[in-house]
Symmetry: C2
C-alpha cells in the first residue's frame, strides 16, 4: 500500500498565501440589467443623460408664469386664462403667455413660457379660467432637467454589488446592459471509485456510498459567487484522473478535487499534479483538513479538498470561499459569523489549528451559547448538527465554559435552531416537530437527553419510561405501544418475551441510551422475578441482546433485511413497514423543558403543539395522547 | 380632471392585515437537488436508508478479530496472517478467521469475520503476516451501518432552507429530487404612458422617462424569494389596463402595478380593480406610500405601489416583501436592518407614520451614525444616497441627535458605504474614487461639502478654490484648468470673460454651491476692479448668469444641445465632449478629512490613492497633481 506522509505541514497562513497567489478571476462580461442582481460592476458608470431629461411638473396642477401669481393668496386669488393641457408622456403643443396657464399632470413637461406649477389644491376652475390662491416663485413644483442625475456625473463605481436600488438607478439612466465581473468557473472532480451520485442505485454490499462533497461544494461555490461545473467520475487510476483533471483545467478558473477519504485515490491526484502541473503546497497544519493540496495545472488553479464532508466544507469555507469571492468581487457576507459563549468546557491540545465543529443555541436570557459537536469527522450528520466551526489556536489547551468565541457558519444562510432538543427517538415527536420553526433534535436516547439537559445546552429533553430530568417541567406527552417486530405474518409464531428467552431466535436490540431498551430491561426483570431467576440468566439466553442499533426503526429494518428474526420496536414502526408485531406493553414518552428555557418562544410553542397534536399522535398505530 | 381623494386612510396595521389575508402561495414543486440552493423544503424528509449502508473502516489498516489482539502492545505485538485486501467500493471476497487479518482502505466494507480495524500506523508487515502493536475492542475504527444516519430517522423538517450543509445531508441519503415550496409568481404591470423600458430610445421633449420601478421591483421580488414576470405596458386607458391586469392575474399569484406618478393612470387601475375585482384597501396613512391599493382580481392578489421609486421600494420592502417571503417560506434575512444613532436632529410632525430615507456611516470610533436623506420623493438618487428607511411614529415630533434608531435597509445585501464624502463635483475625483471600496460621494459643491463636514456626518469634504473647512486635515489635492466651454471650433470666436460681459451671448452657469462658480465670481470681481465698475454691473450684463445647472458637465451639455452659446466648465470636460475651450485660469481642488475620521481605513486609503494618483489625475486635460 502506497501512502503519502505529510511530513512538512504548511502553516495555515502559507495555505492562504498559496491560494491568494492563484489567479481565479474570470473575464469581465456584459449582462442584461434584468439579470444583474447580485453581480458586481466591473467599471464605473457615469450618467450619459440628465434625469429627468426635461423640466418636469412635480404635482398635478397648472403651469404658470410665477410672476403672474405675485401677491395672490386665499383671500385675493389671481385669475389666469386656461389655454390647454399637458399630459405626462406628451410634448406640449402650447405656450404659456402672460396671464395664462395650462393644466399639467405630475411628470409632464413644463410647457414653454411657464416657470412654475401651482398644485391643483390651491386653485379653482370653471374650465375657462383658473383662480390661483397662492404666490409662486420661479421653479416652484418643478424638477429641473438633471436635478436628479446630471449627465456626466459619477453614478456607480466599479466593485458595486447590484441590489434593487442600484438596478433602479441604472434603469433611470436607461442602461439595459451592465459590465460586470465574470463569475469564476470552478470545476469539481469527484475522486473515489466507491462514490455514487445521488439518485443512482447504490450497492452497499460492495461499499458504495453516495457522493456528498460534489453537490455540497457546488452549492458552496455558487454561494461564494462562482459557477460550479461537475465532472463525471472517470476512475481512480492515473490516466483517467489526469485526463479529467486536464479537461477541467482547460475549462475552469479553478479545479477542486473532492470526495474520497481513501488515501490511494488522493495519492493519484497528488501524483498527477506533481508530475504534470505545479504543486505549491501539500498538507496544512489544521484539523480537519491536513491533506489539502494547492497547485496549478495547465494554467488553471487547483485545490484538493479533504474527503470527509465536514472537513471538505470547513476547508472550502475557510480557505477557498474567500478566494472565490475575491475573484468574483464580492465581500464576505455580514452573516458569515456569529459570536457566542462556550456552553461547556472543551479540552484541546494537538498543536495544530483546529476548526471545531460547533452548534449554536440561544439560552433563556437571549445569550448565544456555542457547544462542540463531535461525531467524528466521517459523520455527514455533523453538517446539520453543527452550524459552523470555531477556530481554536494550536497553543490553546482548552476553551473554558463562558469563553467568548466566534463561529464561522457553514453558510451565511445558516440559521441556528430556534429550539434544541435531545432524547428519545420517536415517530410522533418527529411529526410534531414539523410544526416548529427550525428545531434541532438529536435522537440520542432518553438517557443522553437527560444528560444534555443537565449540561445546560438543550432546551428540551424527550424521555420514555419513568426517568425524569431535574430542574425541568413537563410540557406534555403521550403513550406508545412497544413490543417485538417480526416479519409480516409472524412466521416464527412468536408470542412474547418468553419466546426470546426460551427459543433460538436472533434478536436485535436498541442501544443502551434508548428508553425503549430500559423498558425492555424492566420487562425482563419482571419476567426474571416471576420465574425466580436472576435477570442476567434471561438476558444471556437471548441471542443478540447485545446486538444493538441506534434508531427506532433500525431493529425492524434488520428483521426486514433478513438479518434477524425479531427486533425491539414500536407498533407504529411495524405498521409503517408492513411487518408483524407482538405487543409487550405501553410506555409513556414525556417532553420536558429546562426550567431556564420555559419562556423561549419555541419551547412555549412546542408545548402548544403537543397540546393540539392529539390527531397527529393518534394517527400512529398504538399511540395515545394524554 | 378626475382625481381620487384618499379620505379614509387605513392604518398601516390594517394594510399589513389586508395583505396577510391574500393568498400568495404557489403550488409546491419538485426540483433537482443540484438546483435546490436557497429553496425551502415543503415536506419532512426521513432517511430512507442507513448511512453508511454497511460496516465501514474509518482508517487505512487491517481488519481483524478484536479478540485476537487482546494484550498486544508496542513491546509485545500479535502476529496475524494476512489473507487478502479489501478496497473502498469493492465487495469483500474473503472472510477473516481466527488469527487472520485483511488489508483494508478507509471507507471499505468490513469483511465477514472481522469486528475491528487497526490503523496501519500501529502495525508492521512483511506482506505475509502483520504485527499488530495495540489491543482493540470490537467496533474500534469501524463506523457501523446506520451510525451516521439510521433509516427511518427524521433528517430535515418542512420549512428548512437548503444551504450547502443540507444539500450534503440529502446527498448522503441519495435524494436527488427535493420537494420544495413553489416560488410565488409576481406580475409587474407598469402604468404611465410616459414610461420607457431601459435600452429603448427616449424622447425627453415629450416628457418620456425611463421606467425605474419595474426592474427595481422585479429584483426586490427575486430577493424576497418570488419569481418576477414583467408585463408590457399596453396603455393607460381602461380597456388596455383591464386586459393586462386580467392576463397577469390569470398567470400570477400576485400582481403589482407600479410606475406612474400621474394620478390619472393610478385612477384607471383603481377603477379596474373596484369594478372587476375586489378592493380591500385604498390609501394608507404612511409617508411615503399613501396611494397604496390592496385587492383581489380573478382569484389573484393585487397590490398597487406608489409611483416614485423610493416610495415604491419602501412600500414593497415594508408591506409586500414580508408577504412574498412568507409565501415562499423564507425568513427575513438577518441583515435586513441595521441599528445606529441619529447623527443630527430631525424634525417631524405630520401625524402619519413616516418612513424616512436614511443613510448610514461609521464614525471614527466605530459607531454607526444614521442621517436623513431628503431629496424629495421623486429623486431616483435617493435610492443610492440612502441605505434604507427609518420608521418614525406618527406622534413623534423629532428624532434627537444621538437617538437610537433602526434602519430597514432597502435590501439585505445593501452595505453601507465605507467612506462618505461631499463637495465639489470633479472628474479626477470621480476616477480616484474607483480605487476606494464602497465610497459614497455627493457632488453637492464645495460649500455644501464644508457644511456637511461641519455637521459631523461626512468623512471628507472636497473643496475647490481657497475655501477651507475647520477641524479638518488636507489629504491631498490637484489643480484644474477652468474656463468657458464653447461649441467645437469656437464659432462665436469667444476670447475670454470680457466677451461674456460685452457681447450678446447666452451663458450657462453652475449653481451657487459650486466652487467653480465662486472662482468665476472672483474673476469677474477682478475684471470689475480693472474696469473701475461695480461687480453687479458686469454680472447683470451676462445673459444667463443666473441660469445655473448642477453638475460639472451640465453647462457644456447645454451648449452641446444648442441651448446656450457658452458654459462655465473645465478644460477636461471640453476635451471629453469634443468641444472648444477658452481657458480662464487654474484653481486648486483639495480633499479634506474630518479630524475625527482620519484613522478610518478608507480615509487613509483615499489619502494614499490621491498620493499615488498622479497618472490618473494628469490623464485629464488641464489637470496637474500637486
Amino acid at each position: 500500500m502506497r501512502r503519502k506522509e505529510f511530513r512538512d505541514l504548511a502553516d495555515p497562513d502559507e495555505a492562504h498565501e498559496a491560494i491568494a497567489s492563484l489567479d481565479l478571476r474570470a473575464d469581465d462580461e456584459t449582462v442584461p440589467l434584468r439579470e444583474a442582481r447580485g453581480r458586481v460592476l466591473s467599471e464605473r458608470i457615469d450618467a450619459a443623460l440628465d434625469v429627468p431629461g426635461f423640466d418636469r411638473a412635480s404635482v398635478d396642477g397648472y403651469a404658470v408664469k410665477a410672476a403672474d401669481t405675485f401677491g395672490a393668496d386665499e383671500a385675493d386669488p389671481v385669475e389666469l386664462e386656461l389655454v390647454g393641457e399637458v399630459h405626462a408622456g406628451a410634448e406640449p403643443d402650447l405656450e404659456v403667455g402672460d396671464g395664462e396657464c395650462a393644466e399639467i399632470s405630475t411628470g409632464a413637461v413644463l410647457p414653454p413660457g411657464a416657470d412654475a406649477v401651482v398644485m391643483v389644491e390651491r386653485t379653482d376652475t370653471d374650465g375657462e379660467t383658473v383662480l390661483v390662491r397662492t404666490s409662486l416663485a420661479p421653479g416652484d413644483r418643478v424638477m429641473f432637467a438633471g436635478a436628479d442625475v446630471a449627465a456626466g456625473e459619477r453614478a456607480l463605481g466599479p466593485g458595486t454589488v447590484l441590489t434593487p436600488r442600484e438596478i433602479g438607478l441604472l434603469s433611470a439612466l436607461g442602461v439595459d446592459e451592465v459590465p460586470v465581473r465574470g463569475k469564476p468557473t470552478v470545476g469539481i472532480i469527484s475522486t473515489g471509485d466507491e462514490l455514487v451520485r445521488p439518485g443512482e442505485p447504490l450497492n452497499s454490499d460492495s461499499g458504495e456510498i453516495y457522493d456528498v462533497n460534489s453537490y455540497t461544494t457546488a452549492t458552496a461555490i455558487e454561494e461564494a459567487g462562482g459557477e460550479a461545473r461537475l465532472y463525471p467520475h472517470a476512475g481512480d487510476d492515473y490516466e483517467a484522473m489526469e485526463s479529467v483533471l486536464r479537461e477541467a483545467a482547460s475549462e475552469c478558473d479553478l479545479v477542486l478535487s473532492s470526495g474520497s477519504t481513501s488515501a490511494s485515490a488522493v495519492d493519484v491526484i497528488y501524483r498527477v499534479i506533481e508530475e504534470t502541473g505545479e504543486l505549491l503546497l501539500h498538507g496544512v497544519a489544521v484539523k480537519p483538513g491536513k491533506p489539502m493540496l494547492v497547485g496549478r495545472l495547465d494554467g488553471s488553479a487547483y485545490i484538493g479538498l479533504p474527503g470527509y464532508p465536514v472537513s471538505a466544507l470547513t476547508i472550502f469555507r475557510t480557505f477557498v470561499a474567500p478566494a472565490v469571492r475575491r475573484a468574483a468581487g464580492l465581500p464576505e457576507p455580514r452573516t458569515a459569523t456569529i459570536s457566542g459563549e462556550m456552553a461547556v468546557r472543551e479540552r484541546y491540545s494537538e498543536g495544530r489549528l483546529r476548526y471545531m465543529p460547533a452548534g449554536v443555541i440561544e439560552d433563556g436570557d437571549g445569550n448565544t451559547l456555542v457547544y462542540p459537536v463531535d461525531k467524528g469527522s466521517g459523520a455527514t450528520t455533523s453538517l446539520v448538527e453543527a452550524d459552523g466551526v470555531v477556530a481554536v489556536d494550536p497553543d490553546m489547551e482548552y476553551l473554558d465554559s463562558g469563553e467568548k468565541v466566534e463561529v464561522q457558519l457553514f453558510s451565511a444562510d445558516v440559521r441556528p435552531p430556534s429550539l434544541f432538543g435531545a432524547g428519545e427517538d420517536d415517530p410522533a415527536l418527529s411529526r410534531l416537530l414539523d410544526r416548529i420553526e427550525r428545531p434541532r433534535y438529536l435522537g440520542v436516547g432518553s438517557r443522553q437527553g437527560i444528560r444534555r439537559l443537565r449540561d445546560g445546552v438543550t432546551d428540551v429533553a424527550v424521555v420514555s419510561g419513568d426517568a425524569e430530568p431535574d430542574d425541568a417541567t413537563e410540557l406534555g406527552g403521550w403513550t406508545r405501544e412497544w413490543g417485538l417486530v417480526v416479519p409480516a405474518g409472524n412466521p416464527d409464531d412468536i408470542d412474547g418475551l418468553t419466546d426470546l428467552v426460551d427459543r433460538e431466535l436472533w434478536f436485535v436490540n436498541r442501544t443502551t441510551d434508548s428508553g425503549l431498551r430500559s423498558t425492555l430491561g424492566d420487562a425482563i426483570a419482571d419476567l426474571a422475578d416471576e420465574r425466580g431467576v436472576d435477570r442476567h440468566n434471561l438476558v444471556s439466553a437471548i441471542d443478540g441482546f447485545e446486538f444493538s442499533v441506534r434508531a427506532h426503526e433500525s431493529p425492524a429494518r434488520k428483521v426486514l433485511a433478513g438479518k434477524a428474526d425479531v427486533g425491539l420496536g414500536l407498533a407504529a414502526t411495524a405498521d409503517a413497514l408492513g411487518m408483524g408485531f407482538v405487543p409487550c406493553g405501553t410506555e409513556t414518552v414525556r417532553v420536558y423543558g429546562s426550567d431556564d428555557r420555559l419562556e423561549k418562544p419555541e419551547v412555549e410553542r412546542l408545548a402548544a403543539v403537543i397540546d393540539d397534536g392529539a390527531s397527529v399522535i393518534e394517527s400512529l398505530s398504538g399511540y395515545d395522547s394524554q
